[in-house]
Symmetry: D2
Subunit: 360 residues, 4 copies
């Protein structure tokens, strides 16, 4: 019997996928276990998942479970773009910065990358690149890919999303939404998932499960079936077709069929809010981006960062500016936050009692 | 809370991945849960897995967990072949028949396909195709891929494997073993895993977890590090890098660090043996291939097959000959077998008491 | 000034692309020279070529000049197949045997290869593979590719071609014809080009220029525009868009706008016929395939082949059987044939006067 | 016989590949014609070309003729980068702006694009991106690609090139030089070709033929054989292997074996210089980039551009700023320049006699 090799009480602020699986989702896996179910998606749980997804995203929605976030993106993009198509995205996008050469070598598309301080695309970006359409010498932007919540921690409002979609559609492009943290965005704005997707003209969502508390699994959710072609085939070709798919689907049913998706996202957001609030009182740290979802971006002295990273796992986002990223997760506790803030204060040489004095 | 949507006591003979997860492996997942662990393979479980894998495959072995069988194959092949390389494999290979266009479109290689009744490659096959080497007009076979146990249910002996490896190496090719059912082959031959791999000159194994009882997860096990290049990068590019990798590794530790891999494989093989034994007594059914691992291939009248498939899930392998495949799994029970054999007898119009009479 | 480094009177029987350029085509290049013309196909010659091609292939035909035969094939196939599509072709096809891994790595498709002694596909082949359609685990045959004249030197009749097209279309597939030697087939059957293509249901032709006497250049000729998508974009992506395209188009205008294509093809065929007639009289050589276009396939003693290849360039087609291929070209002369036949006779140890005695 | 469909005396300023073929190169083609030569590069002209190329680039140089500029780039990059490699290049590079999705979909690499006003990369750019090396989540820059002369018309000095090469090599990257206009750069700097390539640490050059006066043909010139792998195979796979290669090689022998390459480049540069000199006198036009090779970049009123483009072919480079590009070619005459300048003056409403009057 496997002995536990790690400390299950240790949590840091590196990434929302450093967390494990939410107990309710592990329980759902156990419920789906036992007996035989047709592999590769013909099981009853994947069937039922369709109802759950339609309740959120509307009657045309179809959920195609896959295995990883990169996998979800490359399956969606291959189903959305012709062989010669290109994808317009922000320079901050996970697609561009964190997926190696997968978009190019696996999805065989070119990313047309747009600089954007807040990680958001706008109708102006789309208009500027639409001029390439029809010119065989230039990459053809056929899909606009936006991230929600964005990698720099901002959220698109429904109106901003709708404006992007309208501009894309007006130029014959379709809209892909990388929703690895869509739940966090919906929680932040206190709107239903469909307000940020179906109702805002998005065509295809890659819906995050792992960062929302699942053991494994994401889903490509098609909102407009006319925007994709051959999705089942490209999922298989991209090695994203799980044999025991029932266990991805069972988790998604549990997550989305209850309010667990929202509880997890709200909690992670709230912890980021708490962390930001505490950190703002510390001299020597500056929060450099709006805290809208579950990430806090801050600049602090490099030597402080170095010492702090020996005690807690987290990433430096920009070596030049010293900007760091602190992510909160569904399982981050207020105690974790306070412990971390105390450590920051210590490394900054600030008295903990001082900066929390106002609370007494 | 998710309600169970399926009958956990219903098992058929369609595929070993129609089964769920073995309870000991689900328990291992729970042990690895809680707290934060570095994502993408820097966790302690993936570290420990290296020891477990080396105990089986020898001191140079490295395990790279991935997510699906097709994923394991395309990662291995991309790390083994240059951009212009081709892969020699049997016409029966999963790679050729069941992975869509993944080898070509995702791994970007050409399969050079060899007809082989028993699913095995031989040194003669390799010699015949080596003549293309150096000719820029012809695909360059740079990897030989064999399956163990083969898709038609046979097993390569250590000697047969070593002969293939020797012929491949003599021609400057490396050897890939698709080991989705390697455990079943080792159980069938009653030899350790390394007798069929490391000791037989195999360079890279894709080691099956799912068909051996895991919830999800496979591993590319590199035996000769000189045979691969950039594996970490192609795993990422191929969307096979799991964020919460600890849960794949924990299962593999439990599976391979105990005798569970062997128990599961022996049981599945034994059930196939039992099924074959019972079926052989039935007039009107012919077992058409040697039963060496966990599959039984039989020919029976088409209308019998049609009626039987309404009661039990299984696949017709060849529409022309009427050959069907019956797979046994780690969770197949002797009762399942007897129930199925009774049904076959009924559909054949054979008296169950008659054909089993001899046993009384 | 470049000095001539080769003997312009030496011709052998290795391949129809060992020949140079026909003088009338070199003259056409000179006519198109001088002044500036828009690059990449917007020149007047490429415009005029459309009329010439439509006169042969019918009013919906569009010619897209490209640079190589492999290039023509991969452009056509990418425009014809979705990202997940596969191509049904004969095991003898140039696509499968002589284009390295271009169909897989460049066109990113899988070839589903069918054994065929005479190099022809039949409706039965198509029906046998259509069963894979819709199954995401199996490669999806979406295009049927036939070669005319085939690599083993046979020709499809208009009726045979129409039967293939009908079977393909009935199964939702389209038809690609690799016409590297389409002119030779038309000459052999004494039918117009459209009888073998447009009128026989072919959707896209890759039309050979080089083997028909051009300096360089081939064309993808689309007969049914509904069968392709984004051809201009995949031509560019595949590096087959010539900047000074006027020189490809001018040659095609000269070739197809006069009877030069037919003269060249008829001559090459006639020389193959003469060679076959002469060789048939020689004891010790057997012609093993029908001589329908410009190739002769023969079996002769291995040591004779070895000696003969020191005197004349030609290829052994099959090392096991000793089958050799002798190709005739637009510039092969009757004297070349007689000289070659004499050499064969000498190496066979047959008296030239004996075997030609009947002629006296 | 083809009639001439165009005016051979009309030349504009759109691109150096709007020109035809230089008469001396057409003569070289005729010299290489006649008789049979082994196809696909085993001919005597391609053999001789190696000597000619070594005389320019040094004793380790190997020339691999190909067909198009995009083809040359994708062959070179595939031979230089592993499957997971990326290419660092300037945002202005032809590779990024004018080759559709060929680098991504055909060469299957990611371009890491660097903004650069003058089109040049610097050691700082390389250092900034080297930090990604070893991180599987990020694209791995393995090749630095520079253009000479750059697309915005500047030239790298030997010292600048050497600095780029040193920085690349220090970070384990190799250096590719897109030399579509290398001759123009060498002419501009009055240095031999090797001063800008071999002697400056460049590993692989794609050497332009077409823009230097050839009918068709480019070459991948490998300077350091250790920097490439499998070039012959990727050339074939990329459909860049010409069957009648003798005609590419014969042109290159004529071009590089005499001073024709330099005459053509010097002339084109001189015409650009003349154009710039004349235009500088015109009020209402501003030359906005240094004129170093054969291009002139100018800004003039949009309505003037519109009227002028009805009379002469040329491209607008930037719709927002109104910047246009005027290219000179080997066949541009001083009269062409004067005629064009007069037209510009007319459209600007400037008296030709006025603005030139001062010179008398």
């Amino acid at each position: 019997m496997l002995s536990q090799l790690h400390d299950p009480h240790l949590r840091a602020f590196a990434s929302d996928n450093y967390a494990g699986v939410h107990p309710e989702l592990l329980a759902a896996i156990a419920v789906a276990n036992g007996g035989h179910q047709t592999a590769y998606g013909e099981d009853v749980y994947t069937g039922r998942l369709q109802d759950v997804v339609r309740a959120h995203f509307g009657p045309t929605a179809e959920a195609h479970p896959v295995l990883t976030g990169t996998g979800a993106n490359i399956v969606a993009l291959q189903a959305m773009t012709p062989r010669w198509g290109a994808v317009l995205c922000a320079a901050t996008s996970h697609l561009h910065t964190d997926e190696g050469v997968a978009p190019e070598a696996a999805a065989r598309t070119k990313l047309i990358v747009v600089d954007s301080r807040d990680g958001k695309l706008t109708p102006e970006h789309i208009a500027a690149h639409a001029s390439a359409l029809g010119d065989e010498h230039r990459a053809q932007p056929s899909v606009v890919s936006i991230t929600q919540a964005t990698e720099p921690g901002t959220v698109y409002t429904p109106q901003e999303t709708a404006a992007v979609s309208a501009a894309a559609h007006a130029n014959g492009m379709t809209v892909h939404l990388d929703g690895a943290r869509l739940a966090n965005a919906a929680a932040a704005l206190d709107v239903p998932l469909r307000a940020l997707t179906t109702d805002a003209g998005v065509d295809v969502v890659t819906l995050g499960g792992t960062k929302n508390g699942m053991l494994f699994g994401e889903a490509v959710v098609v909102l407009d079936p006319a925007a994709v072609d051959g999705l089942a085939f490209v999922r298989k070709t991209s090695a994203q077709l799980a044999s025991k798919m029932r266990f991805v689907s069972a988790q998604f049913i549990e997550l989305l069929g209850s309010d667990l998706w929202l509880r997890n996202a709200r909690h992670a957001n709230a912890m980021a809010g708490l962390l930001a609030e505490r950190v703002r009182r510390l001299p020597g740290v500056e929060i450099v981006r709006p805290v809208q979802a579950n990430a806090v971006f801050a600049v602090l002295p490099r030597e402080v960062t170095t010492r702090l990273q020996k005690r807690f796992n987290f990433y430096t986002r920009d070596e030049r500016t010293g900007e760091v990223r602190w992510m909160c997760s569904f399982d981050t506790t207020p105690d974790d936050v306070e412990t971390f803030v105390r450590a920051i204060a210590e490394e900054l040489g600030v008295q903990g009692s001082d900066h929390e004095g106002g609370q007494q």
